[in-house]
């Protein structure tokens, strides 16, 4: 009898954990107002919907955004420090069949091909739940242009040089 009780308790615990893990869903889509061909300096936004499809609340939920560069030879995770000030959301509880909606704005700092994903875990969950990937490409924008720098860098010393010659001739 005692053994059967223990087995029952383990089965209940296992089923509750499994239910908690599978009842969490994360969806991610780019915002409709995002530019179609973004370049460095533009702002993008992504919209996530985290849902609890189960019949029990999901407690202590943490969701965060991740960015990965996928250019050939430059594959690497990107530190979002400079890209976004909004990197995670937390909530104490998601009610049964409830949703948490979040916007994830970011400023495009560097050119390249990127993949963004939102991941979520809860206190009772046993595995990570991730959204589908959203890919985007950031076009290069010249930040230090030679056609601006050269006239200034060469022109100002030349102007001062002309001034010096003029002063020398006057003396």
């Amino acid at each position: 009898m005692k053994f059967a009780t223990i087995l029952l308790a383990i089965a209940i615990a296992f089923s509750a954990t499994a239910a908690s893990a599978t009842s969490l869903s994360v969806d991610l889509r780019p915002a409709a107002e995002n530019p179609t061909a973004p370049q460095m300096g533009d702002h993008l936004s992504f919209h996530s919907v985290i849902g609890n499809e189960g019949d029990t609340p999901i407690n202590a939920l943490v969701a965060w955004i991740s960015l990965v560069q996928i250019d050939k030879g430059k594959e690497q995770p990107v530190d979002l420090e400079d890209w976004s000030a909004h990197k995670a959301v937390t909530t104490t509880s998601v009610p049964p069949h409830g949703t948490i909606q979040s916007d994830w704005p970011m400023r495009l700092i560097q050119a390249g091909h990127y993949r963004v994903v939102v991941s979520a875990v809860s206190r009772d969950g046993t595995r990570l739940v991730a959204s589908p990937f959203v890919d985007f490409t950031v076009r290069q924008k010249p930040v230090v242009e030679s056609q601006r720098v050269l006239p200034v860098a060469l022109g100002i010393p030349m102007l001062i040089g002309v001034g010096m010659l003029w002063r020398r001739r006057r003396h």
């Binding site: 700092i109 010249p142 930040v143 200034v152 002063r167």
Partner: protein
């Protein structure tokens, strides 16, 4: 025209119209040009790097401005003494405060010219990045008191030391020590000594304000602690310069 404005005009005229002064401006322009040209070939700069470039250039302008002000300040007293024109100036029926104000005006005009000279360079390297206007403003608000303070410091050295060379040597060592935050990042200044040095060093106040405004996009108003340090620095140096200039005997 008052005696003060006459002296300020003469001091600034030496900078703007004399060959020696134009050579100074040429040296400053060539330094900024070299920095700008080094960046042209770099096509991998990100937007953040662009802000870093503006931050670096603002720091360089502050250091060059401090150097220029220091030399102009020393030359305004010790240089006059060595050229034999200080005593005749002091014997004119003009108060010491009026002469000092004129000399300080010369330092201020020298810095104003250099600031204006730096603006096209800042625009050239930073107009497609972030916080360019804020960078120019924070240079004016926080950088100007720091730079002018070094000019006043130069006048103190010129008044106290009999040799312009000794004054220049002392001033350069002080300027290099003060400007060390340009080379040492914040992580290298986290020791107790580093934090204490940062708290009282006007150059650290300027560099930290540049970092916060240009790179971290904070407002200039939020930098009031750094502005306060710069204001105390220039106020203290002005008081000391006045005291030193009044005690000049010859």
């Amino acid at each position: 025209m008052t005696a003060t404005s006459l002296i300020a005009r003469k001091e600034s005229g030496e900078l703007l119209l004399s060959l020696r002064g134009l050579a100074w401006l040429m040296a400053v322009a060539v330094s900024l040009s070299l920095f700008g040209l080094l960046l042209v070939s770099n096509t991998e700069l990100s937007l953040l790097d662009n802000a870093q470039v503006v931050y670096d250039m603002v720091g360089i302008v502050t250091a060059l401005g401090g150097l220029l002000s220091l030399v102009v300040g020393i030359d305004a007293v010790a240089g006059e003494r060595e050229r034999g024109s200080l005593v005749p100036l002091l014997l004119t029926p003009v108060s010491r405060d009026a002469i000092l104000a004129g000399k300080l005006g010369g330092v201020a005009i020298a810095w104003a010219v250099m600031y204006v000279l730096a603006l096209p360079y800042l625009w050239a390297v930073g107009s497609t990045g972030q916080n360019l206007i804020q960078g120019m403003l924070v240079l004016a608000v926080v950088g100007s008191p720091v730079v002018l303070g070094f000019g006043f410091f130069g006048m103190i050295l010129g008044s106290r030391l009999t040799s312009a060379r000794a004054g220049l040597f002392t001033g350069l060592i002080t300027l290099i020590a003060s400007a060390s935050p340009l080379l040492l990042g914040p992580s290298l200044r986290q020791s107790a000594i580093g934090r204490a040095f940062d708290a009282v060093n006007p150059f650290s106040a300027a560099v930290n304000a540049y970092d916060a405004v240009i790179i971290d996009s904070q407002t200039i108003a939020s930098q009031w602690p750094h502005i306060a340090v710069a204001a105390v620095w220039i106020g203290l140096l002005l008081w000391l310069a006045r005291s030193a200039f009044r005690r000049i005997a010859r």
